[in-house]
Symmetry: D2
Subunit: 294 residues, 4 copies
């Protein structure tokens, strides 16, 4: 099986390595100045897609209609890439953006629940690191409010509790609050008018939860982490005016654990291929050989 | 109750704050250029010991016979301090060094087991932070060897396991290994000849465990943390020659959680005072008032 | 607020007690030979519904069209009860069965996710008890397969793991398997052809998973618990022929923790009332007074 | 290697089985009416010690100077056994009682810390079972006081906390209390005058902690478990007079997990043999062959 890994950052290099270690042949494209120290080949993008059975692009494959290749000098238009690629399957995240250019089948690994769960673990690790690094008191015995009980909220609150924090999780649904209590955490709903009891607040919800009004109720020495993707859930302007400590932490997996972040891209693609192959002997998508290497 | 907090770093400032928040009157000495924003007073050292009921010095109270006051311009000799202090009780760590100069009663908070346990929690948090920050793979699902099952080994292995690592702990005693297994970790003794199976190794034992011979068996991409105090348990020279990633992490509590580190100094001193007072109405060591504020 | 608690077993007595302790007035009906030791009143069913603001019936309110009152000598037809009850709200489980007779509003507490989560905790406790009581080896260090990762599977696998078992959870969805791995358990899907590696298997799925074919692959000394409601997920006939140890454990919450089982009935009803009242001053369903006692 | 397993109960049968499964030849003695279904041989005691390299006796090897063989019709005097045994090594618990009769080397497996730790895990499992079986409320969310933080206290409080209980541990030493807090439990010392806040109290300390005075302060519906060996730590007479629910649970490992209890006897004896053999090629105590089977 031949995979072309195209563009992105360190995480994609590790994805390439993970494919290679699973027994795939790998070409890396979109990195100038890169020299391979193993049998992974470095190719121009056009050559790579030609040679490979399928391509893998980053979670955000495009920036303004151009392939996301920060380490390449030349910029490649999505349209041009689509022509080069022809009919070969493409794996990427946020597939809507790239999909409109392609006539080939496109598979969105980042939209899958299994990818999201694994990514949540890495995000939680990154949040723990930020807390341990920047907060001057111990996590042990601290009082932490986690906003939201989705994937990240679930993993993060478990980790914080294991590190000895007294965790409160805010959730809307009574069933989520029952789950939260079953884990031994406290829980509140979102009807709060103030949050002055919490020295640490970590938001995971991509919605305006920490509005200016709520920000005004926080302690002066509060430590805020916002894990929600842009624009986040915090009124940063007001937080800034109050001079609060507030970190908007984005794309933590690629920062805190690029190797694991790359590996789960590979794992998810392998799982997609398995499911596509289904019971059928050979779906045409992918040589059987790959399946031997899981 | 009047406490003089003398010298040290950020941690001692937080110790002062902790005494103050417990209701004590506090004087801070040995910090030039410091301006108090609350009722804690800034005094020269001589005045402070005169005014106070007792003094609190850092874990390492002396450097080469001189008081450990890195933020003071003038250096104060231990002998001179002893004269200033007269008969008033002194609390510090490593009391042997200072004790030989003093005629006053001296209490070593750092030598106590309860202090050491609380400190171990902070050290473990610091080690987790180093791992999350510098190791490129996830802690989740990683294979970690912890050398030693003393205080730090106990807390650290629990935290690592909670973060999803597969933990192995090396211990000499069969009973320790029984405890380790009861926690769900793997265990080995120290008869190992090589350690190439572990991508992450964290040493807690102040003895030459990771000798040049063992260092030579480690993986090229091993991630080493040595938490043992000087000279540590790693042959750093050999590790350096092999270009291994190796962090000798010292005094983590003061770095990762200075506020908590200061607070546990205060808590331990309060505990010493309670025990000294025993059942007696007033041991003379400390006014009853303090006891109301625990 | 006046609540009539009608029929059922010990669990309903504890539900009555929980309402009473929350400040409600309570009448108990459908228990002959019962003498109240407190201000809860014993009444005939007709009187009780007349007196009360609403009625509470068991999770299974009917047996063959007759009210589920095992401790009453006389049997009361559902139709007769419906006439007695008139327009007053009724809370019960499995509301479809009773609902067809009633013209009053009916609320199914057992159909709610928050009730189910709390019930799952009690079921997991009951399963742990069965395992500890009947299995001759320790749970610590044992190898356990849990079939299914629904509510009960989630709580149960967490408890087993905390007690030192090596847990494998079978789940169909890749995302569930990602969650399972994130908790540190092993995972398999349902494509297994044999299960001879597991000395302990606990089924939570109400579907024929442990068919005769699979039963034939189990170890002679396997310990089987089936937590799935009737008809369960085990081919009991075949298990019996093979003389395997197999427990079909039904309605564990009422057996293992009747007091908690009663309390969560009350808690769920209170939550329903709160939600029905919504922002409105008074929905007519329930006097405000109750809300003061949460 | 040939082992004679002599007397005791089900636990000893499992110890025999564990030796046999490790590759030892095994003779069982002191059980009338027993028929072996495998290659373990049934012998009279005299023959067995003659045939074997060493003997294994129960944790309590003697009752009133007679070998503890409840399943044998004839009683064997310790003195007679000592003569039969001659110079061969004997492994048992409470070795003082038997030791005075023997001229052979005697090894006390039950006195070892590693045995005690493994036994504590089984005792904790047994205590959890009693709690789940007899207490009518859930363990989840319950408020439990554990008296003592020795081996059993350590494992038990961890298990209870994992099952969602709010755990308080009473301990005398400040360092133990620091450990207890580091685990996330509450802690008190033994200066309490009353314990009315705890619906569940589990004692692990073999000393009169729950005196008549303290018993008088307990709630009417308290649930008491005493795990301390005879005479226990509870004033049972007073508890009985107050009609409190109180279980004095003795020898739990043999009841709750006889198979594991037998296995850890075997594991500990193997460990003793390894340590006795030390680095020496052959200490004479035990053929090398055994060591291959660990």
């Amino acid at each position: 099986m031949k995979a072309a890994i195209i563009g992105g950052d360190k995480r994609m290099m590790y994805a390439a390595k993970a494919f290679f270690d699973s027994g795939a042949e790998v070409a890396i494209a979109g990195f100038d100045d890169l020299h391979s120290q193993c049998e992974m080949q470095i190719m121009p993008i056009g050559e790579a897609v030609d040679w490979a059975d399928f391509s893998v692009l980053p979670i955000r494959p495009l920036t303004d209609g151009v392939l996301n290749c920060p380490y390449a000098k030349e910029k490649l238009n999505a349209k041009v890439f689509a022509e080069m690629n022809g009919d070969k399957p493409v794996f990427c995240g946020n597939s809507d953006s790239l999909g409109e250019y392609l006539r080939a089948p496109i598979f969105d690994y980042a939209a899958r629940e299994d990818f999201a769960v694994k990514n949540a673990v890495l995000t939680a690790e990154g949040a723990i690191e930020l807390l341990l690094r920047h907060y001057e008191d111990s996590t042990f015995n601290s009082k932490i409010l986690v906003l939201g009980y989705g994937r990240i909220g679930k993993v993060l609150s478990r980790y914080l509790s294991a590190l000895g924090a007294e965790v409160t999780v805010a959730a809307r649904k009574a069933s989520d609050r029952a789950w939260i209590r079953s884990m031994g955490y406290h829980t509140i709903d979102y009807s709060f008018k103030e949050l002055k009891d919490y020295p640490i607040i970590i938001n995971t919800v991509p919605a305006p939860i920490l509005t200016a009004e709520i920000i005004d109720t926080l302690r002066d020495d509060v430590f805020l982490i916002d894990l929600a993707s842009m624009p986040g859930g915090v009124d940063f302007k007001r937080a800034h005016e109050r001079d609060l400590t507030c970190i908007h932490a984005l794309a933590l997996p690629g920062k805190t654990a690029p190797k694991a972040a790359g590996r789960i891209i590979k794992e998810t693609i392998i799982q997609i291929i398995k499911e596509e192959n289904g019971g059928k002997e050979n779906s045409g998508l992918c040589p059987d050989r790959l399946l031997l290497h899981l």
